[in-house]
């Protein structure tokens, strides 16, 4: 049995090699389609998992104030009202915002840590800012204040490049400096961060906050987690477009195969049948043909995708990911590979192609060889 299969495989591969150019082109395009789809799957899976791990200790709840549908600074008296709600352990005001650096065209996230760990006049910057502005520890960094005056700050520390995925554009400064830079009065903060003693009371606390302060919007940690799950799910934005293109490519491959065999291939099947091959032998031959092309393309495509995503930091996707951003985190993702995704990819790519190869061959192989050869 094994010898028979090996003979069929020998014959199949010889037949494939006879049409070298056509099959090589098919193999290359098939591999690239698999590599594209696998790259998207590996990248999104790695981002989702890393977001889940890194953000698991993000604030339990953030409360923001809305004015005319847009966020506004929140008065500290809101903090006292929320702190009085039963079940709320602590409420802390956060000061953060965005700064557009016209010099380089980059956006920074500026934040004043609540622990007063940064001295006045000093700033801590993320790796992305240091790279974009080509500055380091000890250098002076000018920022244009809300009053039109340029203020100088000394870089006291650089955040590590390993933390770039959360801190590339982060600029940390003292609370007084932050308020002076953006001209924010001392009774206002950007938003409030809550911690709750019992997580099961979270829904009740959200309801109480929105009832007591209808112009606020609470965002719970679960929302943050769901955002990152949805952000890179297959249904989001461009991923859906890529998925459609890939599915369409496979439909074209499969249609090409399923729409029938070429006259040459039908003739070949007729000769094989006339020489004494069974229908099952012909089907095995077509099965091995489909497997040889789709399995090789699948394996090579997955390997190429892995190298692309985790060794070159998704170099081909960089222009799409960067968009108009001047400041972009230079990060290496941790390869979180889900076996479920690889199996899904296998069933999406190898199985349909192999089946589409066998069906027309089965139709040709069940017809009388004489009729096939004369057709």
């Amino acid at each position: 049995m094994i010898d028979k299969q090996r003979n069929i495989i020998d014959f199949t591969l010889a037949a494939l090699l006879r049409r070298k150019g056509k099959n090589a082109a098919l193999l290359v395009s098939y591999t690239l389609v698999v590599a594209l789809l696998a790259s998207v799957m590996l990248l999104t899976q790695a981002l989702r998992r890393e977001a889940g791990l890194v953000l698991q200790d993000s604030p339990e709840m953030v409360v923001q104030k809305l004015v005319a549908g847009r966020y506004d600074l929140i008065p500290l008296e809101y903090r006292d009202k929320i702190a009085a709600i039963m079940g709320v352990s602590s409420v802390v005001g956060r000061l953060w915002g965005y700064y557009y650096d016209a010099g380089v065209g980059a956006n920074y996230t500026i934040m004043a840590p609540t622990d007063s760990s940064i001295a006045q006049g000093a700033i801590t910057i993320g790796e992305g800012i240091a790279r974009t502005r080509k500055i380091g520890v000890g250098d002076l960094f000018p920022l244009l204040g809300a009053d039109g005056q340029t203020k100088l700050y000394q870089v006291s520390r650089l955040l590590s490049s390993e933390s770039s995925l959360v801190s590339a554009d982060l600029l940390l400064m003292a609370e007084d400096d932050f308020r002076a830079l953006f001209n924010i009065p001392s009774h206002l903060v950007t938003d409030l961060v809550l911690s709750v003693g019992n997580p099961s009371e979270l829904a009740t606390i959200v309801r109480k906050i929105t009832e007591a302060l209808p112009d606020t919007r609470p965002v719970i940690r679960e929302d943050v987690a769901r955002t990152y799950d949805a952000l890179f799910s297959w249904r989001s934005g461009i991923l859906l477009v890529i998925l459609f293109s890939v599915v369409l490519s496979f439909l074209i491959f499969a249609w090409d195969k399923a729409s029938g065999l070429s006259a040459e291939e039908r003739h070949e099947i007729g000769i094989l049948k006339a020489l004494g091959w069974d229908t099952s032998d012909v089907l095995f031959m077509k099965f091995w043909e489909g497997m040889a092309i789709s399995f090789s393309s699948f394996m090579t495509g997955v390997l190429l995708a892995y190298i692309h995503v985790f060794f070159t930091s998704s170099a081909l996707f960089q222009p799409v990911l960067k968009g108009w951003s001047v400041l972009y985190p230079d990060f290496r993702l941790v390869p979180f590979i889900s076996p479920y995704q690889i199996v899904t990819l296998f069933f999406l790519t190898v199985v349909p192609y192999t089946v589409a190869t066998i069906i027309p061959a089965w139709r040709a192989a069940t017809i009388d060889p004489d009729a096939v050869m004369r057709a």
């Binding site: 801190s167 982060l170 955002t227 952000l231 394996m299 941790v334």
Partner: protein, 103 residues
């Protein structure tokens, strides 16, 4: 003696399976090696109360998608099209979609 074509094919498939195994081993080792970096990022998130990954810095609603408001993608007008490339990558947060459906 020249190898049979089927033998060469099976050797090629075996090589690919071995490479896939090496890939899985590499992924596992990178995961272990990345634990200190993940911990550092977790500490930063905890210490500074961060809510989002720094993936797209071009617009505030893609820099902090979890804190985005419903109107920010249309900041130039209620009927304006999304004009930041990352807006096509990052869909709206589910919390906002749920709210929009309820509205």
């Amino acid at each position: 003696m020249a190898l049979r074509t089927s033998t060469t094919f099976f050797l090629f498939v075996t090589l690919q399976i071995v490479l896939l195994g090496i890939m899985a081993a590499h992924a596992a080792s990178r995961k272990i090696a990345a634990i200190p970096q993940i911990t550092e990022k977790q500490m930063m998130v905890r210490d500074y109360g961060l809510t989002d990954l720094c993936l797209f810095t071009e617009a505030r609603y893609t820099r902090h998608p979890s804190l985005a408001d419903q109107h920010s993608p249309f900041q130039d007008g209620p009927l304006s099209f999304e004009h930041f490339p990352s807006g096509t990558l990052a869909g709206p947060p589910p919390a906002l979609l749920v709210r929009a459906n309820h509205d």
